[in-house]
């Protein structure tokens, strides 16, 4: 009975653990870090990440941030790669159903807290919503400088020459900047920030009405973007930033401007392109939009 209730999201949470799993002292520590992160947008606040019951690298930072901001009245959505039903998204959604007893949804518009890995939903988020990112490597300079002591100094001195050199070398070699995801941004003209491994297609959405929180569990960092924060993708005057986009429409819903997954359909080179944001795609099909294969496909 308990189990059934909690599956519906309206029942009580597991009694063996605190609301939203974390103990209150841990939540306070994370909450303080979140407020400082909010006050200094794009700056990585160190926090004493706890060992969570899921592995590091699987969203422990995002889970801790979600647990710290969650209220009993929340409606929670989790996406991985834009999809609600990928296995890790399911696992994290269940975790909060069980430990916080919150309602869950797959609909972007209904959710008050959305935890994401690698995507920003297509539907614009609104005031009152919070987007929580899972972040593997929060330091945008890490692959240029492996030492934390050094990169912290670079941020302190606003010394970002190394990053520009890297981007410039890209242009020299490939004729364009060859970073296609986790594309670095500058926040409010001060901190260079890693937007987590979202495709650069999503970068323009980073200036939004909702609160954005970033949690890196293994690396013990939290950072944040307040609503409407100025977020600029790094580029050069003669090589302006361009958000990538596939040369296709969604084969299921016909959407023209959404980020697409390429699905291999047979071993003869057949493939289809479908929205990576499963809720966005389903919503459009419900509203009667059909793509090239939308009418014939049995979409489970």
């Amino acid at each position: 009975m308990r189990d059934e209730l909690s599956r519906s999201g309206k029942g009580q949470a597991m009694e063996e653990y605190n609301f939203a799993y974390l103990d209150e002292q841990t939540k306070r520590m994370i909450r303080r870090a979140l407020l400082k992160g909010m006050a200094v947008p794009g700056y990585q606040v160190p926090f004493a990440s706890r060992e969570m019951p899921m592995p590091y690298g699987w969203g422990t930072g995002g889970v801790q941030v979600s647990a710290a901001v969650m209220v009993p009245e929340d409606c929670f959505k989790v996406i991985d790669q834009g999809a609600d039903d990928t296995t890790n998204a399911v696992s994290i959604r269940r975790f909060f159903e069980r430990t916080a007893g919150v309602a869950v949804t797959e609909r972007t518009g209904e959710a008050t807290v959305i935890q994401t890995r690698h995507r920003i939903p297509e539907q614009p988020l609104e005031e009152g919503q919070i987007l929580v990112y899972q972040v593997p490597i929060p330091e945008p300079l890490r692959f240029l400088e492996p030492s934390e002591v050094e990169t912290r100094k670079m941020h302190a001195l606003e010394e970002y020459g190394l990053m520009h050199v890297k981007l410039y070398e890209d242009i020299a070699r490939h004729g364009e900047i060859s970073t296609s995801y986790a594309y670095p941004v500058k926040v409010e003209g001060r901190y260079v920030m890693d937007p987590s491994p979202i495709p650069k297609f999503d970068n323009p959405k980073l200036r939004m009405a909702a609160i954005q929180l970033f949690g890196a569990g293994r690396e013990q960092r939290i950072y944040a973007l307040p609503p409407w924060c100025e977020v600029v993708s790094l580029d050069f005057e003669d090589y302006p930033f361009q958000a990538s986009r596939a040369d296709h429409d969604c084969d299921l819903c016909g959407a023209e401007g959404s980020y697409l997954d390429e699905v291999i359909t047979d071993d003869a080179g057949g493939r289809m392109f479908v929205c990576s944001d499963t809720d966005f795609c389903a919503g459009r099909r419900d509203a009667g939009h059909l793509g090239r294969l939308g009418a014939t496909e049995d979409v489970a």
């Binding site: 699987w58 004729g175 013990q220 990538s244």
Partner: protein, 369 residues
Amino acid sequence: MYVAVKGGEKAIDNAHDWLAEERRGAPDVAELSVAQIREQLALAVNRVMTEGSLYDPDLAALAIKQARGDLIEAIFLIRAYRTTLPRFGYSVPVETGEMACDRRISATFKDVPGGQVLGPTFDYTHRLLDFALEAEGLERSAPEAAEAEAHPVMPRVTEFLNKEGLIQHEPRPAVESVPGDLTREPLQLPADRALRLQALSRGDEGFVLSMAYSTQRGYAKNHPFVGELRIGSVAVEMEIPELGFAVEMGEVVLTECETVNQFTGSRTEPPQFTRGYGLTFGQTERKAISMALVDRAMRWQELGEDDKGAPAQDEEFVLYHCDNIQATGFLEHIKLPHYVDFQSELELVRRLRREAEASGQAARQEAAE
């Protein structure tokens, strides 16, 4: 036809059921009890306690059972459990000089007051498979214990050198500061020695072993001798502010290793012996010795030695990579779907190839003309 990674919920349930079945193994073989693991796989239990940072043999044994013998998975279970426990305070430093030793050896002296006690060790066994163990139910006779003097006083070996002023003096800090806690505060560099030791003690046995081994092979060589290795139980006491004195909370079995390392002196320090230190839960001596060597290697700055650029000298490298729970999580997360990022890479590579091909064709055409 279009399935991708759908039906996540059902897939997860099925996988968990299957896992439970595999854990049990063939039903006609008797199930392992937690007590059996605790008693008969004690060295595995000790490792899980040490790297899990939780002294509880029963829980460690349970974790090993649940993890199907995968010790890193078991350590993970213990860590995840530990993190939900409230922290009430910290103990007063345990007095390992008063340890009731089951094993105590020194490699630097032929004999020492209190004697060399071999204890239950694999050392000097011949590593020949003992097929007698395969036949279950054979009771072995208990060894004849030298009961007379069960636990004689065993003063610390390095103290003999200290009295002569031959070994680096480790003064107690004038003001006892509150010890740092890696599990409650984010690691910040440079870390003090107490935090480094904490990280090494929790660190992966294999990683710490390899780092220690690398110092023996010449990467920041520090010529260690095992000054003393002791294993036994010590009392854990905690100050109770309301009482104004320390109260014994219980006993733990520890392995302590102090290495004596050669040192020819530096710009700041006279020639003397120096120290490395290892302390771990239970009988875990490979780990404790490894820890002592790596500890010594990381003390190069304090002793005014040169930075030889060796991995074991690099505190940031060692501390950020020694934790097997962090490492295994991040390593294994590449099993998660990454198709969104891969798609953007795919498009980029296709475009770059198209462009390269086009410019190649143009060049060929030019050459032909």
